[in-house]
Subunit: 552 residues, 2 copies
């Protein structure tokens, strides 16, 4: 099989472990910390996790390894969307497992959590693992979105583990998957299966973050990849001097990705969904905000710019959410038949006009026709509007064009406005992990095995102090229950790890807020360029601006 | 001004010159070769270029510099679309010019050829130049698309040169710009202005290529950038295993970019416009060709894939070109009024049905409605269809979906088809130049100055033997007239440099052709990763697969 020169070179890279894990397996001992409490709803969470709640935070340090010399058979699962570094979690896990005891085994369950239920797996060996070291993708065993959450699934999982003599499961996933890891750990403990469960924090969205998880893996590489191409587009805009680029970036609910890219590239505009929601901004207000930048720049002779739009922003616009809810109601079930029977868009439009409230129709009416039609014509099997399909980058550029036409008529704007559109998401989820993600992920996996070896369950593999060099990173574990609270989900109270949104009083946003007026009017672009794996440390090993600002 | 860590590091990079230019200015002498003939239409070209035709090819070699010690004042112009490395051409030119005589001056005419006409310029100094070394973009002086081709423009250009004492102009551009450079050189010579003109071959499209120009600059970096993100998407496809990605890549008429990306990443499908034209393929045949791959992969359980679509492909489909011509005719001038007056799309559709020939209507009828409407509703100021706006990646995925629906009904196909769409163009035009482009461009500029210093005009700066290490590169110059033939353009016979299309009997296409059946059915993806500027030479210094195959 042909591989690229970079892939070949990356095979040779040795990921950096935290200093305390570098002395060999026999020199890793545990230091137990305080017993933990969940961040909220302590009584409820404790009641749900009687066997795994309240355990102690632990850190590893140099010292005699006192773990029991039992043979370990570990199963690993990749859950959910791809994130750069997933392969390295498995490599680190494998290396620690084999270094501890060559008879230990690592099973990889295929295509996500369903692999455990379906008993679909492979057993890793050196040759197989070596083909995935420091590479992107989840193709090592595939991933999937099946959720492990029912008692029936847990019972099957227990049977599969028993069949193979599996002593521990490592789940690599986002907030939901780690929540499910905690529930599975509790089930295994309650049923005395002897199987431990360890979670690893993955998501490019950056919304799995709290006082214990400084950053989820993949966020660094994905945002560096997006920032590379955004920076290239900025330089193109600043060279051609005739286009406004509207760039949508992945990240469904939180705007961490957009904010990090903005901090890296200093575009003229970056919308932050959390701010849109907090200020209850209307589409018109957002369009005016962008049009102000276009107008000011045009007045200086700069008819070009770059605007970053977070994927999920329209859902954070209150009037737009209300419109979507009304449309879903208007076309629910059989009501859609009358609508679908109307032969022309003009007739459908009348139907819509009569069916929506005045407020929602006004919102609907300012949308470009392409988006209007998409809202009504492309709905999911339940008849709901598919919000994730809305091309919000085109929506906002169209609204801005309308605003500019009004301003031109009013005589306040005399520039030219040529918008171009981009969406970046799939480009970054499977990039070769940056040195940071390669190191971090390898450490997460290596550390996960140490947690297993020392008998912990329901823990998250935790590596911290990440804005410092890897030699100073701190390795340990945290009970997943500590990060939980109770939230209403699908009409039920559920224990979940809270999703981290962008905090409007946090340092990353504050830095952005303090600078964005200048960025909007002037050309302050920064061009990060492609991720570098070799060369000067300040080019190759720095992690995100978000983390640097948070840990300042 | 804030700059990225990579930009800072790239300032320190020393581009590699051809071995023969490394011994210092005083050790560069000229070796004249044979007198040249244009590639075709010799008499006609000779008649048009009486003062600059038939000059000798030259190469530089190590030896005593015998050029006249005259003070040089050089003007440089960036023409047309951005290509990575343009800044380095100017840096190389500047360094050679200052090394020859510190009193020499370099003028940069701003925003393209119009800068020369408008006398809009800056004078470079060390501080300014140093901020652009090894960076992407054309923002150093801006670029533009004004063509220098009229006698009036030439006369103004001569006046501007005289005013500043300019002794030579360097034009950095594509085939048209270099054609115009030759015409300007002839004008300056015929009018005894004493001003020389040198061209440098730029374009990411790769279509400025012939026996004298092995590769145009920027093609290497742009295709590496596209291949990076295409490879990332392939890895995502192979991990998620549920999407077919249709990826359009820039390159308006020739498919060099698409082919190079395919050679780098081994996707399941890559259309080559030149083949589509040669085989007179219909849209339906192309859709069937892609659907065959989808079906075969689905039969193996692989409901995912990657298809590369060259930007200009629809213009190479004979039936589609015919349709466009009919639409342009149908709505020419006042005829559009009747069409525009029709209130509904249904009525417009009837108008179209009645106005097109049966053959063209059949082509029109299989297009998805979005594309149909685009063809009729979004036309340029002359009423013509804007072919470059056609989202051909969406067009083909829609046609493939239709084919698959038929096959499903026929029972031959039982898979799932979820297409996603991408367009990559602006992402690659302003990337930090690869080491190859940084070296090549710096050499082109350095070499351009040596041609000036030795008194040549109407020459192209030529660096060859490029698939070997830079130490073995050959520096010299070639009369631009040698590359010319006569072509019909806008109803006139014009001397032009011939655009190079993908040769279907050339080694790059032959290699692709020999492998594509396997790539279509199996998963042979190669993941090139991000451009590396540091690290192992085989990762950092190799140029394109196209050039490697051509020079094999």
């Amino acid at each position: 099989m042909k591989i690229s020169p970079l892939q070949k070179a990356r095979y040779e890279y040795s990921p950096k472990l935290p200093g305390m894990l570098r002395n060999g397996i026999s020199e890793i001992c545990v230091k137990e910390g305080e017993e933990t409490q969940s961040v909220a709803d302590q009584e409820a969470i404790k009641a749900l996790f009687p066997n795994t709640y309240g355990k102690k935070e632990i850190t590893f340090e140099r010292g005699e390894n006192t773990s029991a010399p039992k043979k370990q058979v570990v199963g690993v699962i990749l859950s959910g969307g791809q994130a750069p570094g997933g392969h390295n979690v498995i490599c680190g896990l494998y290396d620690a497992l084999k270094a501890t005891n060559p008879d230990n085994e690592l099973f990889g369950f295929k295509n996500g959590p369903s692999g455990l239920i379906d008993d679909d797996y492979l057993v890793f060996d050196d040759k197989y693992i070596d083909e995935y070291r420091n590479t992107g993708g989840f193709d090592i065993i595939g991933s999937g979105r099946t959720k492990l959450e029912t008692q029936e699934q847990f019972a099957i999982a227990a049977d599969v583990c028993k069949k193979h003599g599996i002593t521990a499961i490592v789940i690599i996933g986002g907030d939901d998957s780690n929540t499910n890891a905690a529930v599975l750990a509790e089930y295994f403990a309650a049923n005395n299966t002897g199987v431990q469960v360890i979670g690893c924090p993955k998501t490019i969205d950056g919304d799995l973050k709290n006082e214990d998880i400084e950053i989820s893996f993949g966020f660094d590489t994905a945002t560096k990849t997006y920032s590379e191409v955004i920076g290239n587009i900025e330089r193109d805009a600043n060279s051609a001097k005739k286009y406004w680029h509207f760039i949508k970036v992945m990240g469904r609910s939180a705007s961490h990705v957009a904010l990090e890219c903005a901090l890296e590239t200093q575009p003229n505009i970056c919308l932050i969904s959390e701010e849109v929601a907090a200020k209850k901004m209307s589409l018109s207000q957002i369009a005016d905000y962008i049009a102000d930048s276009v107008e000011k720049r045009a007045a200086k002779g700069m008819n070009f710019g770059v605007a970053i739009i977070p994927e999920g922003v329209v859902e954070f616009v209150p009037e737009f959410s209300a419109l979507i809810a009304e449309i879903n109601e208007l076309l629910a079930g059989a009501k859609a038949d009358a609508f679908n029977a109307l032969p022309t868009w003009a007739e459908k439009y009348e139907f819509i006009k009569n069916g929506l409230t005045k407020e929602s129709f006004e919102v609907f009416d300012i949308l470009p026709q392409g988006i209007q039609q998409q809202l009504f014509l492309e709905r999911d099997p339940h008849g709901n509007v598919q919000v994730s399909l809305i091309e919000s980058e085109k929506l906002f550029s169209a609204l801005v064009a309308d605003k500019l036409a009004q301003r031109k008529a009013a005589g306040t704007y005399t520039g030219k406005f040529n918008p171009l559109h981009h969406f970046f998401g799939y480009e970054g989820r499977c990039a070769f992990p940056s040195n940071f993600d390669a190191d971090y992920c390898y450490s997460l996996g290596y550390n996960a095995f140490m947690l297993i070896q020392y008998g912990y369950t329901g823990y998250l593999s935790k590596i911290s102090n990440l804005s410092n060099p890897a030699s100073e990173w701190v390795a340990g574990g945290m009970p997943i229950t500590k990060m939980m609270n109770i939230e209403r989900r699908h009409g039920e109270d559920k224990p979940v790890i809270k999703k981290a949104l962008v905090e409007l009083d946090g340092k990353p946003f504050k830095f952005f807020e303090a600078n964005r007026d200048q960025w909007a009017e002037e050309t302050c672009y920064v061009y990060p360029g492609a991720i570098q794996y070799y060369g000067p440390a300040e080019v190759c090993d720095l992690t995100t601006r978000t983390l640097a600002l948070e840990q300042e």
